[in-house]
């Protein structure tokens, strides 16, 4: 191949055995190879695209998709486009509403439109349903009849919100997910303090994950160093103590912590027996923040030890000896020579633990109580609710997904995914 490119430019092209020019033959055989490689990957790629990527895109789409008003009140939606929102809409809007209502009653979709608006203005459902039942007996002009039937049709806020919700894409669920909402003037404003849940929970998830990552570093670093400096046989034996938890079911490890930490549990019994704690003053170590932190640190610790160990194994011990023999204090030798060399493993472990931690659901749900739950727990809670809550869950999940992908991307830029190794 090399020689053919060197001779390029000579008069006669070099021919392959079947008489075609060599370059062409090479290109053809390479494209066959490419297709073969793709054919091997194609089944899994298609599978992942259909069963994973498409559902995630659908979820993101669902979090902004807002079709109800457009779908169920189509004429009203288009009639409202020219309305400026300063006074009660003119006759054509009411005429369109009447027409939509007649169709809606026939198709039994009016209830869904009313339910959708009711979510924005509590009480709007009954106004709409009451009017819808009478509207087929009326004739133009409709405006007066509507207002006669129910004062609420003069409510400007109702019309403004109706107009706002004719948008096909809405940021409503993202606003909710960050504790904002539209106020009466249609501006974005923070929700009342009692309803503010999610922003705080996002922050709590982030800082607790950071704390867990930090604890994992503290515990993993000495152990990995010990493993890396032992003879292979001893190291392999000690490694079992790391790998056994790693391979043990998450639920098993979480139930182990429930056994240990609960108020009638092993640890409290020990403390009482040792006389350190009064029988009535048993410590609350579980079903709160402490429980989540202890259990998750234990569960995620192997994910920190394994990448650290695999990096430390490659650092020759003579480096430290050299630094010391040149007069460095042991701490200085460690800090200036050894520690920088372990950074790739440390970064890999941290990112792994942090990404795993911020998405955790099972352990916080079991041992977290009220104060130790993560954002995932509220995503799960909303997934079991109404269609509006499902959309909120989709918005929360999308925010979490973007956060995870950003961290992963930054890590990939800084360290490189290929540095990630297990043992």
């Amino acid at each position: 191949m090399a020689s053919s490119t060197e001779r390029r430019g000579t008069a006669a092209p070099i021919l392959a055995a079947d008489g075609t020019p060599l370059k062409q033959a090479l290109r053809r055989s390479q494209s066959i190879e490419r297709r073969r490689a793709l054919a091997l990957v194609a089944p899994l790629l298609l599978f992942i695209l259909i069963v994973f990527v498409v559902p995630i895109i659908a979820m993101i789409w669902r979090s902004v998709y807002n079709p109800e008003i457009r779908e169920f009140l189509p004429q009203t939606a288009s009639a409202l486009q020219d309305w400026d929102g300063t006074e009660v809409p003119p006759e054509p809007v009411f005429q369109a509403m009447a027409a939509d209502m007649i169709v809606g009653v026939e198709n039994r979709t009016i209830g869904r439109a009313a339910a959708r608006i009711n979510r924005e203005i509590p009480g709007a459902r009954s106004t709409m349903m009451r009017t819808a039942r009478q509207v087929d007996e009326w004739s133009a002009p409709y405006r007066e009849k509507f207002i006669e039937a129910d004062e609420d049709w003069t409510n400007l806020e109702f019309w403004r919100i109706l107009k706002r919700e004719t948008r096909l894409l809405t940021p409503t669920y993202y606003l909710l997910a960050l504790d904002y909402e539209y106020n009466a003037e249609g501006e974005i404003a923070p929700r009342p303090e009692v309803y503010q849940v999610y922003k705080g929970l996002f922050f709590r998830t982030a800082w607790m994950s950071l704390l867990i990552t930090g604890l994992c570093v503290l515990l993993a670093y000495p152990v990995s160093y010990l493993l890396a400096t032992q003879p292979t046989r001893t190291a392999n034996l000690l490694l079992i103590l790391v790998l056994l938890p790693f391979w043990t079911s998450l639920l098993v490890r979480t139930s182990a912590w429930i056994v240990l930490l609960q108020q009638q549990g092993v640890l409290n019994d020990l403390l009482v027996a040792a006389g350190l704690v009064d029988d009535n003053g048993r410590l609350r170590m579980i079903y709160n923040r402490t429980g989540t932190i202890i259990a998750m640190t234990h569960i995620l610790l192997p994910f920190m030890i394994l990448p650290l160990y695999s990096v430390m194994k490659t650092i020759p011990p003579s480096y430290l000896r050299a630094a010391k023999s040149l007069g460095a204090h042991p701490f200085r030798a460690w800090w200036r020579v050894y520690f920088p060399l372990t950074l790739p493993g440390l970064a890999a472990g941290c990112i792994l633990v942090f990404i795993l931690a911020i998405g955790y659901y099972i352990t916080p749900a079991l041992v977290g109580g009220e104060t130790g739950i993560f954002i995932s727990n509220l995503i799960a809670q909303n997934m079991q609710g109404s269609s509006a809550q499902l959309k909120l869950a989709a918005a929360l999940a999308t925010i979490l997904l973007v956060a995870v992908l950003l961290i992963y991307w930054a890590f990939n830029k800084l360290v490189g995914v290929d540095k990630l190794k297990f043992g």
């Binding site: 899994l44 790629l45 515990l219 079911s249």
Partner: protein, 283 residues
């Protein structure tokens, strides 16, 4: 890191202190897992050691929770469901993942980086997000609360491990062996089954074990996806831990610890065999 003869007192103290610290951390790692095993034999329905247990009185111990596990139809059917789901999803994930890894490692693979990123992504995306996405998607296509739906979602979770482990064992693969086999008259399928597959097998098996354990342990997705007919043991354990706490859960947990010891041993044996094979080949 044996202590040299010229070590100062401070270094000696630190050396021993360091070992004590490491011992404590190892204890932290392993103790919770060990503790639940004797508790599974508790004669009383408690999650803690009774006086009889601590004095090794035989009356304090019993097999009742293990009996309960194998006689209660709720537990046996959910254990069976778990194995149906994880074995089928492991087979599918291993087949798809191995093929893809073989393709990804071909020299002429186009867009390798992007495709690898897509194939690995189920490992990075938090489970709750995958669950949220698949829950609605499978409901729409009529696969929620069915075995195929659960199995397909577990195939998604398992394939990244297979792709990664097989890729890793392909990285040390000597391509001239393929040419050698072909020059000796073996056709493509014979070369694949007699030369390539035996060398790849350690990677394939460890990938399959990863996929198996992932599926067996998985709670988040099945919690939303499984109907009463498909409830696997993890979901039963999860709801058991939330509601009434019975040591039957600890009996199952200790069996699962035994299972992970078996898996760990298998992997270690594979690794040793692998090292032996690599050691024999020149270079």
């Amino acid at each position: 890191m044996a202590l040299p003869a010229y070590a100062t007192t401070a270094e000696r103290v630190w050396h021993h202190a360091f070992r004590v610290i490491c011992g404590l951390i190892f204890f932290f790692l392993i103790a919770p897992i060990i503790v639940i095993i004797p508790l599974a034999f508790n004669a009383e329905p408690y999650f803690t050691f009774t006086r009889e247990m601590l004095t090794f009185d035989p009356a304090g111990y019993s097999m009742r929770w293990f009996d309960n596990l194998v006689t209660s139809s709720e537990w046996t059917s959910s254990i069976a469901n778990s194995f149906i789901i994880s074995i089928s999803s492991t087979i599918l994930a291993t087949a798809l993942g191995t093929l893809a890894a073989l393709g990804l490692n071909r020299r002429n693979m186009p867009a390798r980086a992007v495709i690898t990123a897509v194939l690995i992504s189920p490992m990075i995306v938090p489970l709750i997000i995958t669950a949220a996405a698949l829950f609605s998607f499978f409901a729409r296509v009529g696969l929620s609360q069915t075995f195929p739906g659960i199995i397909l979602s577990h195939v998604v979770l398992g394939t990244p491990f297979v792709v990664l482990t097989v890729t890793a064992s392909l990285a040390g693969f000597d391509e001239t062996l393929i040419r050698a086999s072909q020059s000796l008259g073996a056709n493509q399928s014979r070369t694949f089954f007699k030369v390539i597959l035996p060398l790849l097998l350690p990677g394939v098996i460890s990938g399959a074990l990863f996929a198996f354990v992932t599926s067996l342990d998985e709670v988040v997705i099945v919690n939303f996806m499984a109907g009463p007919e498909q409830t696997p043991m993890t979901v039963r354990m999860f709801s058991g831990l939330r509601e009434e706490i019975s040591p039957t859960i600890l009996a199952l947990a200790s069996l699962l610890v035994a299972l992970s010891i078996i898996l760990l041993t298998t992997l270690e044996l594979i690794r040793r065999r692998n090292e032996r094979l690599r050691g024999m080949s020149p270079g």
